[in-house]
């Protein structure tokens, strides 16, 4: 009955953190080894018995340390190591020798190591634990103070649990109110031997939810939706040129402009498929408010030799066009068409020139000229010289 009462006391100490200091300190000191062993036995009742034999006879070198990968065994090792660690830190008994001090430092480091790891425990950590534990076990067999050792125990357990379950939780150093929860969780885990997540009904253990994740189903759905949208935006970014914008709104603007531009190009090209003089008037009528008026490179011959950047001719052309526009739009368009020119707003023209410079059609050169609101034309119009594809462009394998 004695062990049971001590165990009960230990459990109480866990659940009532305020009382843990002095109460169970003395009893374990009386029969240190046995009480710890009993308690441990109670705790880890499902573990294989070979590990217990190791604990009970510390002077026997544990044979199956490095080879045994049993979960419980590791738990045992880790908690034993933590026990020793706290015993040493507690400053009783055998902590004074230099060897012990060195061991203590190593132990601390190891503990920091195991505590600091939050994700994906590798086997190496376990190995470290095991190796160090084996060296430590032989050192000090005294039972430590009750509270500290309990603390160590559950530190060990929680660290072990984190190792085992490969959680990506940030390891919060378990504060005292958490011991009860972690104890319960660890017991669950030890029984379930390898279940990946603690039961979600342990609100205390999850001190803070994973970063960027709430548990609310609405917000989860929200987040999923947002992620999907972000994926699609990324895919669109690759398709659309000039995709260096990070802002979603500006990216959408880019996309919209690009789609408009593509549709326009299809129109233009299908116009030129007519393979002759293109009709200007119908296009003008269709183009709506006259914002965009294009003429196709009908025949291409007239435009074939036109070089860009010839300022004189361009200026003359501009004047001509302006004059014509005052009289009749159709005739102005026809004049332009005869020259192989077209009229379009500046924004679209820049888009075309940049895209055609980089795109599969390297032959199209554009010279952008600004005409500043001569005559009735709006200031946003510009005259674009398009050089039609020269015969040297290989016909690319149709």
């Amino acid at each position: 009955m004695q062990p049971c009462s001590r165990e009960m006391q230990a459990m109480n100490s866990l659940l009532n953190p305020t009382l843990q200091d002095q109460q169970i300190q003395t009893p374990p000191l009386d029969h240190p080894t046995s009480s710890h062993d009993d308690f441990l036995e109670q705790m880890l009742s499902t573990l294989p018995s070979c590990s217990w034999s190791d604990l009970k006879s510390p002077w026997d070198p544990p044979k199956s340390d490095e080879t045994d990968n049993n979960v419980g065994f590791h738990y045992d090792e880790i908690l034993a190591s933590k026990l020793r660690h706290h015993q040493i830190n507690g400053g009783d008994g055998g902590g004074s020798s230099p060897a012990a001090a060195a061991m203590k430092i190593m132990m601390q480091q190891q503990m920091m190591l195991t505590m600091g790891v939050s994700t994906g425990a590798t086997g190496s950590h376990h190995q470290n634990d095991v190796v160090d534990c084996s060296s430590f076990k032989s050192l000090n067999q005294q039972g430590g103070e009750g509270s500290n050792s309990m603390q160590a125990l559950f530190n060990g357990f929680s660290a072990g649990s984190l190792h085992e379950t490969n959680q990506s939780h940030h390891f919060h150093h378990p504060q005292t109110p958490n011991f009860g929860a972690t104890a319960r969780t660890v017991m669950n885990q030890s029984q379930a031997s390898g279940s990946t997540t603690p039961a979600p009904a342990q609100p205390k253990q999850r001190v803070r939810a994973r970063r960027g994740q709430a548990t609310d189903p609405h917000s989860i759905a929200e987040r999923l939706r947002r992620e999907r949208i972000a994926e699609r935006m990324k895919a669109l970014q690759e398709l659309v040129p000039n995709a260096n914008k990070t802002d979603k709104a500006s990216m959408l603007d880019e996309i919209i402009d690009y789609v408009k531009f593509l549709q326009l190009q299809v129109k233009v090209l299908s116009m030129s498929r007519l393979g002759g003089a293109a009709a200007v008037a119908p296009l003008v009528a269709e183009g709506g408010g006259g914002r965009v008026q294009t003429t196709a490179n009908g025949g291409g011959s007239s435009g074939g030799n036109q070089t860009s950047g010839n300022n004189d001719s361009v200026a003359v052309t501009e004047h001509q066009v302006a004059k014509l526009m005052e009289e009749d739009m159709g005739s102005a368009m026809q004049y332009l068409q005869g020259k192989g020119l077209c009229l379009m707003p500046i924004s679209l023209a820049t888009a075309i020139s940049t895209s055609t410079c980089h795109s599969r059609n390297p032959m199209m050169k554009g010279a952008l000229l600004q005409s500043n609101g001569e005559g009735p034309s709006s200031p946003s119009m510009s005259v674009l010289t398009v050089q039609s594809a020269t015969p040297t462009m290989g016909n690319g394998g149709l």
Partner: protein, 157 residues
């Protein structure tokens, strides 16, 4: 070239349509009247759109919308447009309510504009809309590529 890619499918259909148009209305040497040219232009444009939409079949919303539009451009337009409008309205209200719940989209204005541009985009939520847009852009670029190459080859001849 991949025999079953979008590009090849579109090319075959488009060329077929073009030859049909050319056979139907031979190119007149003299500059034809604007109405005629316009008609011809419309035919070609329709042919391009149709062939593109057919290449995609009904796997995409925009292709379905385009095909629908093409089919119902004809005389039985009143009934058809009425039917389509009601359909669009139901779907768009559903989408709109969906959008209103999750209001913090931050892109609703542009989304509206995009919806107008992409055929059949009126009744889709943002996620699918972006998907459709991506595919639509891909198809448009394919179309342009083919048209361009045709231009070049025809010019060489």
């Amino acid at each position: 070239m991949n025999p079953s890619s979008l590009k090849s499918r579109f090319t075959t259909r488009f060329l077929r349509a073009l030859t049909k148009i050319n056979a139907h209305k031979p190119i007149s040497s003299s500059s034809p009247g604007p109405g005629e040219i316009f008609q011809r232009y419309r035919r070609i444009k329709v042919a391009a759109d149709k062939s593109m939409a057919y290449s995609v079949r009904s796997r995409r919303t925009w292709s379905r919308a385009t095909l629908w539009r093409l089919r119902t451009r004809s005389p039985r337009s009143r009934l058809a447009t009425h039917a389509r409008r009601s359909w669009v309205k139901t779907r768009s209200t559903r989408a709109a309510s969906h959008g209103k719940e999750k209001k913090e989209d931050g892109g609703t204005v542009e989304a509206e504009e995009l919806r107008e541009l992409v055929p059949g985009g009126e009744a889709m939520d943002l996620c699918n809309l972006l998907d459709e847009t991506a595919h639509y852009i891909k198809c448009l670029t394919t179309q342009l590529d083919i048209l361009d190459r045709q231009e070049c080859t025809s010019r060489e001849l």
